[in-house]
Symmetry: C2
């Protein structure tokens, strides 16, 4: 019984994640999520009190996925300085290219959409996921013997967020290549 409940809960979360990522938070409603999960709205509400609660659960789930995804990126990544940067931005470009109607980072998108609601539960979860990525990059750069790896990881974060946004705005993947090139120049340079 417990197991069945957990499965239904998971099905709702996955349907909600899909809907939020596709259409944003405001344009998604619980009817649509219930339909996608092939459940009644009443069932969805018996698991989650509100769309906001559902969003918080989706974000926690997404933050866990993000850790798995970083591990997956790492598995296919060389460990030398230039190689790891090319691989990191190359894998992001591959994701953008292979996803129909790619909408960039789901977490970034939600924070932007909820920008006027600073107390929203989505905020700390998105912050945590971005901090995890920055710490992961710091570790990769440190292993590649890059001096000042925390500051250089921050440079890569800035270029990555900027590139995802400009690829999304212009529909032009070359911003990802420009970001990789700038990142390589920054980690190479001393001082």
């Amino acid at each position: 019984m417990r197991k069945k409940q957990e499965q239904v809960r998971q099905r709702i979360i996955e349907a909600a994640y899909d809907s939020f990522w596709r259409s944003g938070f405001a344009r998604t409603n619980v009817d649509g999520i219930a339909a996608r999960a092939k459940l009644t709205k009443r069932t969805v509400y018996s698991y989650f009190r509100s769309k906001d609660d559902l969003l918080a659960a989706v974000l926690r789930h997404h933050a866990e996925l993000a850790t798995t995804r970083l591990q997956h990126i790492q598995d296919r990544m060389p460990t030398d300085r230039d190689g790891l940067i090319d691989s990191f931005f190359g894998q992001l470009a591959g994701w953008a290219r292979s996803t129909p109607r790619w909408s960039g980072s789901g977490l970034t998108r939600l924070v932007v959409e909820l920008a006027d609601l600073p107390g929203h539960p989505a905020r700390p979860i998105a912050q945590g996921a971005k901090a995890t990525t920055e710490a992961w990059l710091t570790e990769r750069l440190r292993e590649a013997k890059v001096a000042g790896s925390p500051a250089r990881a921050r440079d890569v974060m800035l270029l990555m967020e900027g590139a995802m946004m400009l690829v999304l705005i212009h529909g032009d993947i070359s911003y990802m290549e420009a970001a990789a090139s700038a990142a390589k120049r920054l980690v190479r340079k001393r001082g």
Copy 2:
């Protein structure tokens, strides 16, 4: 009569701009815009057929404002390489710091919110405004004798978009300073 109509049209556009920037596109409705403009909903609809049409007008107006804003930034900006970069990011940081519930670039925010609607009229207007900023940066860097100014202007764009996003996510203005520092290193470095 013409003049009166133009004033009402402008009042609607300003109320809509304010609402969209505050709460995003989806969570804004025509009732709210009409109330903010102190007009009836019927009057708003006599000027604009739909919320989408209103958004297109707002974006055109915003793109014009953006040009004025770049000129304003330029007026207070030194013309040397490091000085202009510090001034550019410093003025962005000042804007973020002095605006309650600052939500980053309104254009970026709208594109993100409408990411799953690539045919939306908002898209080409946002693209045009970002391209204008990139061309303006190219010109400033060229005047400061920076080699390869179009590629370096793109580096600055990537860092600026990334910084606005990470300041918004973390509520930590130091990402703007990190972006300025990375930009200075990139325009200094050759090759």
